[in-house]
Symmetry: C2
Subunit: 364 residues, 2 copies
């Protein structure tokens, strides 16, 4: 696949975006230079979840009384699009903490996200809202949502810079509206995060979707590994900056790693389960501005230990006969990427890396 | 526009669905008989909302401390698709209580919803998640979400029947998986419902979208009227079973209407604002199984007064020189429709009604 025209087009779209003055206008202008996307079918469904029941008998004259009533919750919500002439394996996208399917859609500055980019490359795309998040908000357990002000924490945690300053050369647009859109793509947990609930629902989604390539981001990495161990339908895993729940065989868990945001611990699983992860190609990507020495900025420091543990984790997979690749982007000459490299300014370049890897592994 | 081929195709899709045995399979099978959808552009953005700030100074070494930090919330989240050769006015869809953009997507039994149906009819579609719902869950006020069992309440309220019995001839599929999908398309408020917050965000969305036809459902009806009074971009309103917040000129509010779910009150607004609603065509639809006499089933009884007030409301619009049409489907020979007529078994017929009205009003 010759990606050069796409790169040139992306540069043109970027230029149009810069001069249009608004994210939405940038998108409208930019996209009109692109060919239409031909969708063979698209739709939405829920997958997995559970049902709770209050004891008693439902009284149709007292419908607000919970007695004898059920609640369906803890499912995933899935929006999918299948292009004409789709490739064999769909890409199934799972967002990270505080995010939803929006993660993979339009970028904060109005360019195309991985949803459109990979549709244009003839992949079917399935965008997940995990249980207790976004359009899958109905849960079998109660929840509380604070309105704690924390935008600046995320600015630092997601490595845009150290508030209010962007990192020099960061791959993030510096206009106010892009940052506004970025903050507003967040959406809270409607009940407690539970990686078992998430991986069960994702496994149920894959039962419907069939053999797929699982693409996770950040917090989604953990349930991603659990799903790859549970489901026969995971043919490969692509993890963007997995941040926690690195699985290791019992007895091979590395030492705890203290950091500015707490202590990162390996997540022990039976060796038999772990071995599932050696049966598929896996690639893990990390971006730029991750310190190698202890930083007094917790937003940066937590990535120091996460990258460190990810390296040990990839080595462990490979020592057991697996095929795990860890790409630290600055080591391959790609600089300035944030925690959201798939929507960064160079996201077409990031997509090209994935396309090439999928081709190399015979997955395209 | 000759809709007969579409109707025939819909019947074929239904038959395929019945024999396939699963909602998802029905969809996969059904849709392959349809032509691809050609999308000129698609994407997502947030619109409107507000920002709160905690007093103090942000300390980058204590990122979890809310001092000096902001929170962006109370925006709408919008997913849109613009087909090739789009008609002049987009359809902007606002869901009802406990729902999200999912309302307009695939039906519970896996057929195409209004999103796809109207894309195929060359309308651009904009699907809203209103502030504090779905992918627009981040709010500037805190919220609590109970896990109260209430599926049976909604079964009755949404007029599928009187649990566990479906109404005779109801336009809803009677298999378990369809009901499972139907319950799971619900998603809760992440903070208190506020029709001003919703209509402000919707007005901001329309500032970006431009002149549009607003399509609301149920609870969305209220903020729909508020938006039509605030925004110059509402060219018409289509309201499916608006359930509350019927606006009347101050001094012309009808008497309160007690019902099994409480007392329905008219919503007074200044005459000057109300007159905005007389400047655009409006159509309101209600389905079947709405009692005319007091019912001891509150799920049914509440629709008795809502339909009654809607009739007075439409008459008030027209008395002031407007163009409001109320269609009670059984009165035009269409039977069995629930509160979700746009995803009922006969939703293509319901879409045909809308297409015809849009054509009659010169809006297509």
């Amino acid at each position: 696949m010759n990606l050069k025209p796409l790169k040139a087009l992306s540069a043109a779209v970027l230029l149009l975006g810069i001069f249009s003055g608004s994210a939405f206008a940038a998108e409208k202008t930019g996209m009109q230079t692109q060919k239409p996307i031909v969708i063979q079918e698209q739709g939405a469904f829920s997958a997995g979840g559970s049902v709770i029941t209050t004891p008693g008998t439902f009284d149709p004259t007292k419908i607000a009384d919970p007695k004898g009533q059920t609640l369906h919750g803890d499912h995933a919500s899935v929006f999918y699009q299948i292009p004409a002439k789709a490739r064999k394996y769909p890409l199934v996208f799972l967002h990270g903490a505080g995010q939803s399917a929006r993660t993979w859609q339009t970028t904060p500055d109005g360019r195309e996200g991985f949803q459109n980019i990979f549709l244009r490359r003839n992949y079917s795309v399935y965008l997940i809202d995990q249980p207790r998040r976004g359009q899958a908000g109905r849960s079998t357990v109660a929840g509380t949502i604070s309105a704690t002000t924390d935008d600046q924490m995320w600015f630092d945690m997601f490595r845009l810079g150290e508030w209010p300053n962007f990192f020099s050369g960061v791959q993030f647009p510096k206009d106010d509206e892009s940052l506004n859109q970025y903050f507003r793509q967040m959406t809270p947990n409607t009940a407690a995060y539970d990686s078992d609930v998430v991986s069960n629902a994702l496994t149920a989604a894959l039962d419907k979707i069939g053999p797929s390539i699982l693409v996770t981001h950040s917090q989604g990495g953990g349930p991603g590994w659990l799903t790859a161990m549970k489901s026969k339908n995971v043919k490969a895993v692509v993890a963007y900056e997995p941040g926690s729940q690195f699985v290791f065989p019992e007895g091979e868990v590395p030492e705890d790693m203290p950091s500015g945001t707490g202590t990162l611990k390996g997540y022990p699983v039976p060796l038999k389960d772990f071995m599932q992860l050696t049966k598929m190609p896996i690639i893990v990507y990390y971006g730029d501005n991750i310190p190698t020495e202890i930083s007094d900025n917790p937003g940066q420091d937590n990535w120091r230990v996460r990258l460190k543990m990810a390296r040990i984790w990839a080595d462990t997979i490979n020592r057991h006969g697996g095929d795990a690749t860890l790409v630290h982007l600055p080591e391959v000459g790609i600089y300035g990427n944030t925690h959201f490299m798939f929507s960064d300014l160079n996201n077409v370049q990031i997509a090209d890396l994935l396309s090439k890897w999928l081709k190399d592994k015979g997955l395209d």
